[in-house]
Subunit: 287 residues, 2 copies
DNA sequence: GTCAATATGGAATTTTCATTCTATCAGTTC
DNA sequence: GAACTGATAGAATGAAAATTCCATATTGAC
């Protein structure tokens, strides 16, 4: 066995590993130094390649990779590779620090505090995802469709309802005509019956999908009312009825999904629509 | 060999693959549909896992994964997996630049994009604040008061309404008795008239304060109904009627304040209450 | 209600891959 | 300049993983 008592600890994350490698790089033998340089220059290769393929492109023997890993206290090459893989899974740099900060704050001392921290962390994660998962051009198209609509119909049930109730509030403030569908059952369909092709709808539904929302969206789509939708999976029944749809996966804590990303999205959409609409009105006046 | 001449082309990148999967998802048999959903919902798992581990967590057989891959023209599971791996490689070459990327990302090229980025950034800022501005002990007390209540009255108007409408939804799921006050004007006061000192209320109000909310909170406080409140200033009229109150300043973009922090707070409070309540019930039963 | 076609589960097989072992080589010390 | 220490290459080994195959189950058509 190499070390019965571990003198230096085995790095557990990429940053730590990087630090150790840099620290000892100078004293490393030739081939190991070569591997060290390669691993820091091509971390993605290490993450995905096989020992053989990496060995070839780093111009060493596979066994050298194993020795390299063992040199830094890992059991073998595979366990070192895990570090490189984990690095790709954790998305943003800020996120790590935030989590660490959360786990060290006062809340973690108290029981309910961990629940509190959990939801804050989930919200952060959700927001980190949103920028990459929303296509800017689709967003632009959505704004366009909704800005041109006479009346915007907001469709949402259950968990999605807070989203559209916020939009309703904001539209009210911004003097954009809207109809909130989903409050009292029964009158919904009468409301939707008034929607024509000069109007548009925005539907929000997360799994488990409320069948009514999907049905209402379909109804509107059949009547040539353009539908924009927000959902959490490409498999949502909403997608097929929509001209533009967004997939937004919210992170969760203890099974309760965050609404932060959806909320931020809704706010952005609302304000963008209002802005575009006012511009359209101004342009119309100018002529 | 399966197809000497490729009738439909094999997707070469993640986006193409996603498109093909979505296109054919309806005609897919049960298990393959299951894999389709799993793969699009957990792309990272597919990238890193082994066929066996993925199969377990998607609840199918390893062979089903191979069949799935072949169904879309790949030689086997491994070549499909390459697509998922490539997706991770191409994403953001430099993680350090990630935060900067938000201000320089694709969104900012388009007009509506800057609005979008602005709201995401505001939400992040809000969440960063929340941990320091909420006192863990006060949170614990709030949970205690509300967990002991028979019925929880949720008071909110306008901008705060989405917050409590989420809580209402969650309380419903969690089997906690509640009354949402603020929907239709007029009947509110009748509802509140039924509140007794075994109940409790949670009020949310941000400036400009809805005078009704403050009045209703005062009314309840006079009748010895404990009130917990969430607001954005120590000067809020809600504060004086409340046993416990929280000050939560949301960051804003273009004058529109985020709701992310309040939302995260509401979720944490809701779940903490439900948990504590169930514990109290269990303890009562045990005696 | 029966048959055919297709889908599925699970074991068997084959391939691939990490690791270990041994011979060789280079550098260092006495 | 010989003997020793440590590094390296390359083949051998054994484990693990992907894939294939076959029996069974399910679905849909007639």
């Amino acid at each position: 066995m190499a070390t019965p008592e571990t003198t230096t600890e085995v790095p557990q994350d990429f940053e730590a590993l990087k630090a150790v490698i840099l620290e000892r790089k100078a004293q490393l033998p030739k081939r190991l130094k070569q591997v060290a340089a390669y691993s820091l220059d091509n971390p993605d290769e290490i993450a995905f390649g096989t020992a053989a393929s990496i060995a070839t492109s780093a111009d060493v023997q596979p066994s050298t990779l194993v020795r390299f890993a063992q040199h830094f206290g890992f059991e073998g090459f595979s366990s070192l590779q895990q570090i490189f893989r984990a690095r790709l899974r954790e998305r943003t740099p800020g996120y790590e620090d935030r989590l660490k900060a959360l786990s060290e704050n006062e809340h973690s001392k108290l029981e309910s505090g961990s629940i509190f921290n959990g939801f804050v962390a989930a919200a952060h994660r959700s927001l980190d995802n949103i920028a990459t998962s929303v296509d800017p051009e689709a967003f632009e198209r959505a704004v366009d469709i909704l800005a041109k609509a006479e009346t915007i119909y907001l469709i949402a049930k259950r968990r999605s309802y807070p989203i559209s109730s916020y939009m309703a509030y904001a539209f009210g403030k911004l003097r954009v005509k809207y109809q909130l569908v989903g409050t009292a059952a029964g009158i919904d369909d009468d409301m939707l019956a008034m929607a024509g092709k000069n109007d548009a709808a925005f539907a929000v539904s997360f799994s488990p999908y409320a069948s009514e929302s999907a049905a209402q969206a379909r109804l509107l789509a059949e009547r040539k009312v353009p539908v924009v939708s927000l959902t959490d999976s490409a498999f949502s029944p909403l997608a097929e009825s929509s001209k533009v749809w967004f997939e937004l996966v919210e992170a969760d804590h203890a099974g309760f999904r965050s609404l932060s990303a959806s909320m931020a999205f809704a706010m952005a959409l609302t304000v963008a629509i209002a802005e575009k609409r006012h511009r359209l009105i101004d342009e119309a006046k100018a002529e």
